[in-house]
Symmetry: C2
Subunit: 395 residues, 2 copies
Amino acid sequence: MRESIKDKVAIIGMGCTRFGERWDASAGDMIVEAASEAFEDAGVEPKDIQAAWGGTLWTGLTGMTVGHALKLQFIPITRVENACCSGTEALRNAAYAVASGVYDLVLAVGYEKIKDLGSPGVPMAQGSGTPTQVFPQASAPGLFAMLATRYFARYGLSREEGKSMLAKISVKSHDNGFSNPKAHLRRKVTVEQVLAAPIIAWPLGLFDCCGTSDGAAAAILTRADMARSFKDDPVYVKALQVAVGFGAGDMRTDYDYTHVEEAYRAGQAAYAEAGVTNPRQQISMAEVHDCFSITEAIVMEDLAFSPRGRVKEDIDAGAFLITGDLPVQPDGGLKCFGHPVGATGVRMIYECYLQLRGKAGERQIKNPKLGLTHNQGGQPPSAAVAVSIVGRDTG
Amino acid sequence: MRESIKDKVAIIGMGCTRFGERWDASAGDMIVEAASEAFEDAGVEPKDIQAAWGGTLWTGLTGMTVGHALKLQFIPITRVENACCSGTEALRNAAYAVASGVYDLVLAVGYEKIKDLGSPGVPMAQGSGTPTQVFPQASAPGLFAMLATRYFARYGLSREEGKSMLAKISVKSHDNGFSNPKAHLRRKVTVEQVLAAPIIAWPLGLFDCCGTSDGAAAAILTRADMARSFKDDPVYVKALQVAVGFGAGDMRTDYDYTHVEEAYRAGQAAYAEAGVTNPRQQISMAEVHDCFSITEAIVMEDLAFSPRGRVKEDIDAGAFLITGDLPVQPDGGLKCFGHPVGATGVRMIYECYLQLRGKAGERQIKNPKLGLTHNQGGQPPSAAVAVSIVGRDTG
């Protein structure tokens, strides 16, 4: 009886701000910047929007933040929060509302004004509601580093081999992001520079960690059957899946610190929803949650792009370079584009939207058909993972 | 092209904790308490749930709070936040997901563990994202009191007449809540006691202010066409509307402090969605957001239950008593049942669900057909308002 979201909803306009240290802009300013690009792209006006969803982790309570910024008066505006999946969740809930038939023109916007918050790397002051969570006082780099050390040990990578594999991931993302005018950290780095950088939590050094950024990204959604009345080349939602889990010391004594089960499950569910049977061949590009370089490595395996324990072979072969058979982070990823938490999921879909429509400029991939995005919220051994698939044609 | 949510989604199980100073329970404990009642009521198990939505303002980030409590592993769980509308928003987004066809058995749970937070009456430390908001340092009682003083002035009520009108609202809610075993403040009060209580912000005294409570409430939703396979007497969603606005000093120089435009708009939209043409006659009962007694008075007019400026006549006539023609707050309302922010919207629908199915015990209303709920988030002159209508039959 259950139906797929596939080809029920289309994206007809998107926008994204420059990410970075946006001391020049409030959250509202960035929402306006991203949404204005999306409105213009879709050829609609704010007054046409029937309902909106805003995704943010830390930046203000209630839907009023979005409403105030865009002067959307008296429509439904809902805040959605699911850690680093918040932006994709805003789009997912907007998509269900459109697919339900209740609305036919809605806005999803992700945003975060994070540089004002102090030191986001330290543990959050706000309670997680899960008092038995393992390592509540550990930092994100420390927790993700355990994925790396355990992965190296299990698959027999020496320290040097492991560090080198991770370095190539960051070098690739910096290469891609260098030509992206909206990216936060626009510089190329070498493997030697990455290896020589200060260690944050071994084996993760400074260049294994993503940027901490301000930014916003927006999408305008309509019913698939109405999309071409707005735009000749809409992008269609093929899958929107989320898997929320929690791990070791609590329910899952099997937590192995070499994969993220939530990513595997959300990925498999997304492939089923989109009708993808061979991800490595059918997915044209991917934007994944490289909060740390090791996360990207493991995600390639969780999403069935590389066999378990063998992502290093694909990295060494250049498979995920923009010239490879499966370009990953063509816009620079969290690593280089930056990571304004609530904005990130929508930013990833924005890159797919540009690429699928041949509008990605210098970093354009040849003839992409399906784009995948992946967000991971939470920290090992707990995660909320969102996977979306979008494509340029129906069917 | 747009369709109503009416009769697409049914509620087949609900639960609600005792509200109050729940030093005995964590947020997770209360989620389990509410959801367990809902699971048992629906005859389903946690493993049957395909996706979940959690509504909370302050209690923990991410959907992991709900997942951890209920041991829902690897399904989508999304946190929704829209101030005091958070619970209803969780149910609204869950309903759209069901109506989209993607899921056919989902959970919506609202919860708040608020007594641990210190003094929720004082202004929030977290930024609202709206830097130009009027009176950012004013407290909730102070801001809502301005509705009362302005209303009295505009409609020619003396101080004594106004205070007496408000007192009767609180007396009615305490009368109703007295017999509710789950209510926070189970005591009857007299008009004289209300009038003699300490003033918090004139004319609002202690008994004009709602409780500050811990609690949780849960609902299980399915497709309307599947509902009777779970339950002989499901309750159907007839309307789910939200209006978010912001007021004086910013966009709306017309803000008059004698009504809440968002409540009027959400109410009218809900009536249109549900096909209600004469609210006073067709709505059998209402649970409205009586954060303060004046809010309830004004909401009666905004929802077109009483003519503008004339709610006092209906109050004096006993129209909103449990024995009146339109019982309001039959369970005691925020005033007496309490106000765990994220739980409140779902608690209101829980009362409609009990009443519509003839299961409200001592406080049962005779033969109700349609129940209305109303939440108001934010503070004058800004508001996010949710209005839902539920009914016991389709058509």
